[in-house]
C-alpha cells in the first residue's frame, strides 16, 4: 500500500497534478503565518532589554538562515534519492531548490550583517558561523554553475548530485559551530531540545515565521517542480492534455 504511493510519486504526470493541487494548501497558510509573524515580530513582541527594538531583525534573519540550511539539506537528500534509486523526479526536486537556497543564504548573510553592525560594531566578522554560511552560499552558486555547464540533463543531474551530497557536511558544521567554537553568535535558544529560553511573546512570532517560511518553501518548490517536470518530459503524451487544459 505504502509502496504504491511511493512509486506514484516517481511518476511525472502524477507529481505534476499533485503539485498543482497541493500548492494552494501551502501557499495560503504560509502567507497568513508570515503576515502574522511580521505583525507579531514588529509590533506585538516587546523590545529586548539589551538590544531594544534592534533585535527585531531576528524575525527575518533567523528564518532566512533556517531556510538556507533546510533548503540545502532538502537538495542533498533528494539528490541522493535520485542518484541511488535513479528517480528522475528526485533530481528535479534538487534542481528546484538551488536558486531559492542561494537567495535565502544571501538574505541571511545580509540581514546578519545589518544586525551585527549596531550590535557587534562591525558589518562583518570572520566568525565560524558567518564564514561557513558564506561558504554555503558559494556551494549553492557552484552547484548552479556546474548544472549550467553540463548540457546533458541526466548527466548534469547526477554529477551535481555528487557535489550536493559531498557538500552537505557544511550544514551540521554551521549549526554546531556556535557550540564547537567561541563565537560571536549566541548559542541556540530555540533549536534546543529542552525548553526554549525566550519569553513567550517573543517566541510565538518567531515560530510563526519559521513555519511560514517552511510552508512557503514547499509551495515554491512545488511550483518549480512542475516547471522542471514539464521541461524534462520532452514528448510524453500526458503533456498534451496538461497544456491544452
Amino acid at each position: 500500500m505504502a509502496w504504491t504511493w511511493f512509486h506514484r510519486l516517481g511518476s511525472p504526470p502524477y507529481i505534476y497534478s499533485l503539485a498543482a493541487r497541493l500548492t494552494p494548501w501551502f501557499a495560503w497558510p504560509a502567507a497568513l503565518l508570515i503576515l502574522g509573524g511580521l505583525y507579531g515580530g514588529l509590533i506585538y513582541a516587546s523590545p529586548d532589554y539589551q538590544q531594544g527594538e534592534g533585535y527585531r531583525i531576528l524575525y527575518v534573519h533567523a528564518p532566512s538562515a533556517w531556510m538556507s540550511l533546510m533548503v540545502y539539506t532538502t537538495m542533498a537528500i533528494s539528490a541522493a534519492v535520485g542518484l541511488i534509486w535513479r528517480i528522475k523526479v528526485a533530481h528535479a526536486v534538487a534542481a528546484s531548490c538551488a536558486a531559492m537556497g542561494a537567495s535565502f543564504t544571501f538574505a541571511a548573510l545580509a540581514t546578519g550583517s545589518l544586525w551585527g553592525a549596531p550590535m557587534w560594531g562591525t558589518y562583518w566578522e570572520w566568525d565560524p558561523r558567518l564564514t561557513f554560511e558564506l561558504i554555503l552560499l558559494f556551494q549553492f552558486l557552484g552547484y548552479m554553475g556546474l548544472r549550467a555547464a553540463i548540457d546533458d540533463v541526466q548527466r548534469a543531474d547526477r554529477v551535481s548530485a555528487v557535489l550536493a551530497i559531498v557538500g552537505v557536511v557544511n550544514v551540521p558544521i554551521i549549526h554546531y559551530s556556535v557550540e564547537w567554537w567561541n563565537s560571536l553568535h549566541q548559542t541556540a535558544s530555540v533549536m534546543k531540545l529542552s525548553k526554549p529560553t525566550m519569553p513567550f511573546d517573543m517566541l510565538i512570532p518567531l515560530l510563526m515565521m519559521f513555519l511560514g517560511f517552511t510552508l512557503l518553501f514547499v509551495a515554491l518548490l512545488l511550483t518549480r517542480l512542475r516547471a522542471e517536470v514539464l521541461s524534462r518530459e520532452r514528448s510524453a503524451a500526458w503533456i498534451r492534455e496538461v497544456v491544452s487544459a
Binding site: E53, V60, F106, L230, S235, I239
Partner: protein, 55 residues
C-alpha cells in the same frame, strides 16, 4: 507606540527596515521566479506539442 516611534525602531531604523525589505524582496523575487519558470515551461511545452502536431 506612535507611528513615528514605530518607524524609528528605537534608533535602529536604518538596520531594521532594510533587513525586512531585503527578506521580503527575496520572498517576492522567489515567488515571481517560480511562477515565471512555470509559465515558460508551459509555453515551451505547448509549442512542442504544436510542432509535433504539424510534423
Amino acid at each position: 507606540m506612535s507611528l513615528e516611534e514605530f518607524f524609528a525602531m528605537g534608533g535602529y531604523a536604518r538596520y531594521v527596515w532594510p533587513s525586512y525589505a531585503l527578506v521580503l524582496a527575496a520572498i517576492v523575487l522567489n515567488i515571481v521566479w517560480a511562477r515565471r519558470a512555470l509559465q515558460r515551461a508551459r509555453t515551451e511545452a505547448r509549442r512542442r506539442v504544436a510542432m509535433k502536431d504539424t510534423t
